[in-house]
């Protein structure tokens, strides 16, 4: 019983972490059909900006996210205005140019970080970093709980933004059909810039949150990129709720395999790969589409 509670809690906390990593990627892919290879670079930069706010101005990392979010949104919009025109438009398949361009942006960010912060390993140690709370007899780290709560808040924020506001409706319109949205008077280019800014902001926020859990160097984020791809494929590429669901499936699978099977935990990445493969072959539209299909069959 204790192990079941432990696995459940671990899965939920890991899902929060994974979803946080993937929201930004999903928003940008959904609107612009761009696989943002610079996502890891934005996360890394988010970690460093949070670290700088903490070490220079004693701003708590989670409070610092209030600064990191808008700052990265602005950075994303400026970046889109500077290079976004060269990227593929919605409706088209991701172009090799956009992949190369964003890969280049990642390398530039990485090298910039080496120049500014050097290659030294950095970390953030707050009063609560090493603290844990007991939930049903299981100790869970306070920063992990904060990350989970922030991830849940992000999910609510994105859902409200996309479903209840004009901007959200415009983003969804561009996501579904860019040409039709243009004909309806939506400024698709402005919406793309906003979506890119939003995706960049969430990547920065994810980096800021990850900096409370682990140490980082300018190479940070690389290993999370693949997991994020896997999650957005599972989640159906365009839906933020789907992303949360994909993150939960991956986290549950990893934790159940770790706790109840002799499968080595070093194969965690292989689990992500296998899941990515299965998702692409069996349900390329993601889990939400799969559930909808089952629902329709059940009604019939």
């Amino acid at each position: 019983m204790q192990q079941l509670v432990s696995v459940t809690l671990s899965s939920l906390l890991a899902a929060g972490l994974y979803a946080t990593m993937a929201y930004g990627l999903a928003v940008i892919y959904g609107v612009m059909r761009i696989i943002n290879l610079a996502h890891a670079g934005f996360m890394m930069l988010g970690a460093y900006v949070t670290f700088t706010l903490f070490s220079r101005f004693s701003i708590d990392p989670f409070i610092g996210l209030v600064i990191v979010g808008p700052l990265f949104f602005f950075f994303g919009v400026v970046l889109y205005r500077a290079v976004g025109k060269s990227m593929a438009r919605s409706g088209a398949t991701p172009s090799i140019e956009s992949l190369l361009l964003l890969f280049g942006v990642w390398l530039v960010l990485q090298n910039l970080a080496y120049v500014i912060w050097t290659g030294d390993t950095q970390s953030i140690l707050t009063w609560y970093t090493m603290k844990s709370i007991e939930i049903f007899g299981v100790h869970v780290g306070v920063p992990s709980v904060f990350v989970f709560l922030a991830s849940a808040a992000s999910l609510i924020f994105l859902n409200v933004l996309l479903k209840r506001t004009y901007l959200g409706k415009a983003i969804r319109a561009v996501t579904q059909n860019r040409d039709a949205a243009l004909l309806s008077g939506v400024d698709a280019d402005r919406i793309s810039a906003t979506a890119f800014g939003l995706g960049t902001a969430f990547a920065g926020i994810a980096g800021g949150m990850l900096s409370t859990l682990m140490a980082f160097t300018p190479d940070f984020g690389r290993s999370f990129l693949l997991k994020s791809f896997c999650i957005i494929v599972l989640g159906g590429m365009e839906s933020v709720t789907g992303v949360a669901l994909g993150a939960l499936v991956l986290a549950v699978l990893e934790n159940v395999l770790g706790a109840y099977t002799p499968v080595p935990t070093s194969l965690q990445d292989a689990v992500s790969f296998a899941l990515l493969f299965v998702a692409l072959v069996a349900f390329p539209q993601g889990l939400p589409a799969l559930f909808t299909r089952f629902e329709r069959k059940a009604i019939r």
Binding site: Q3, S6, V7, S10, L13, A14, L17, Y18, M21, N111, Y114, T118, G119, D120, T121, Q122, S123, I124, L125, T129, M130, K131, S132, H139, V140, G141, V142, S144, L210, L213, M214, A215, F216, T217, P218, D219, F220, R222, S223, F224, K227, A251, E254, N255, L257, G258, A259, P264, T265, S266, Q268, D269
Partner: protein
């Protein structure tokens, strides 16, 4: 007619020989030493430290007039290139140094992965190669030209086990002891695992392994792995990890409220960055290292003072290893009294650097080219204190075992 032609050929050959000899001699007015280090990129922190220590060792020799070769003092021309922590580029730069810049010997980089890539090049051209930054055993023994001053990681694990066995003999720890063994999925990790396993197999009454798992570098979540550690109920926690993984894993370890009688993360533990990231949670962690500034040798004290005067900081193990690598190469060149690759290589193979600053005080290489020096063991104490606890003869404080709850 035939005879005069052969005379003419002989004369031309002699002229060519003398000319080439003179020009080669003219070229060899200085000793060209190549070095390829990760000065930028992900290994830049220690790569930069290797650069500083290498340059200091070269400067010292040049300030003293150079090395004695062919009966005269020759200055050292250091040609140091940055591989940006890229393995492919690293090998390419070593080749460039040998082919284009005609260096007499090459100093290898830092990091087993980078040195592994570099180490295949010297064999092609027959040039001596010495590295002070790679402990993976697989690098050595494949080429007679490759030498390394870092003792194998297997020995690191073996030293830690010797230390633990001594704690058992002192009755500080009570045998039999169950070990939870974790390692990163790298050559370094595999060597660590082998070292522990070999020792446990040789001491079955004192030790057993109850969990043996590996993990990928920079894993985002160590909780599933540590849940296995918790379930294994081991007495000792032994892990081999990079700094980033050590920090992330030990945070989760502490948050989960895990406890073991002794905890180690291999070579990690005494790092300033680790103590800054984990605070008091690092207290009593023990770690092995290739060097410590606490070693009580006079030559170590002299090196500490020299380093502090030159840089304003206390030396770390990587500064000492890089410095000693250069010293070993220079000692071999002087002993060879020649810049011929074979002569330098043979001198390196027979080298016995008796005033070495490395543990044991004498640096020499095994048949595979690897130095087989003892390791030191340090233990973190509260309030940022650090004690050298092994070897016994050099200890600066008593080991605390088991770790207080």
């Amino acid at each position: 007619m035939h005879a005069s032609r052969s005379w003419r050929v002989t004369l031309q050959a002699a002229f060519l020989f003398v000319f080439v000899g003179i020009s080669a001699h003219a070229q060899d007015s200085e000793i060209r030493i190549g070095a390829v280090l990760p000065v930028t990129g992900k290994e830049s922190k220690i790569g930069g430290a290797y650069k500083a220590a290498t340059e200091l060792a070269v400067k010292e020799v040049n300030d003293a007039g150079g090395l004695l070769v062919h009966g005269k003092k020759m200055k050292v021309d250091l040609r140091l290139l940055d591989d940006t922590s890229d393995a492919a580029k690293s090998a390419q730069l070593v080749e460039q140094l040998i082919v284009q810049q005609k260096v007499h010997a090459v100093i290898g980089g830092y990091g087993s992965q980078l040195v592994q890539a570099q180490s295949v090049v010297p064999e092609r051209y027959g040039i001596p190669f010495i590295s002070g930054g790679a402990g993976a055993s697989s690098i050595y023994g494949r080429s007679k030209w490759v030498f390394g001053t870092l003792s194998p990681v297997e020995n690191l694990a073996g030293t830690q086990m010797d230390f633990l066995l001594d704690l058992v003999k002192q009755r500080k720890l009570k045998a039999p002891l169950k070990i939870s063994l974790l390692r990163e999925n790298t050559e370094h990790g595999k060597d660590f695992q082998k070292g522990v396993r070999d020792f446990v197999n040789a001491h079955p009454k004192q030790f057993s392994i109850v969990l043996d798992e590996s993990f990928e570098l920079y894993a985002p979540d160590f909780r599933p792995l540590l849940m296995r550690v918790e379930a294994a109920k081991g007495d000792l926690f032994m892990c081999d990890a990079h700094l980033e993984d050590y920090i992330a894993m030990h945070r989760t370890y502490t948050q989960m409220g895990l406890y073991h009688q002794m905890v180690t993360y291999g070579a990690r533990g005494a790092d300033e960055a680790g103590r800054k990231a984990l605070g008091a949670a690092t207290d009593y962690i023990f770690a092995s290292g290739w060097w410590s500034d606490l070693l009580p040798y006079p030559q170590v004290k002299a090196f500490n003072a020299k380093w502090k005067a030159a840089t304003g900081n206390n030396p770390q193990w990587y500064h000492a290893c890089a410095y000693e690598t250069v010293r070993a190469l220079f000692a071999a060149i002087q002993k060879a009294g020649s810049l011929q690759p074979d002569a330098i290589r043979n001198a390196l193979a027979r080298l016995e650097l008796k005033d070495s600053i490395l543990p044991g005080g004498v640096l020499k290489f095994s048949k595979t080219g690897e130095a087989t020096l003892p390791f030191v063991v340090t233990q973190n104490k509260p309030e940022g204190k650090l004690d050298l606890v092994w070897p016994k003869a050099a200890k600066t404080g008593e080991p605390v075992a088991p770790i207080p709850r």
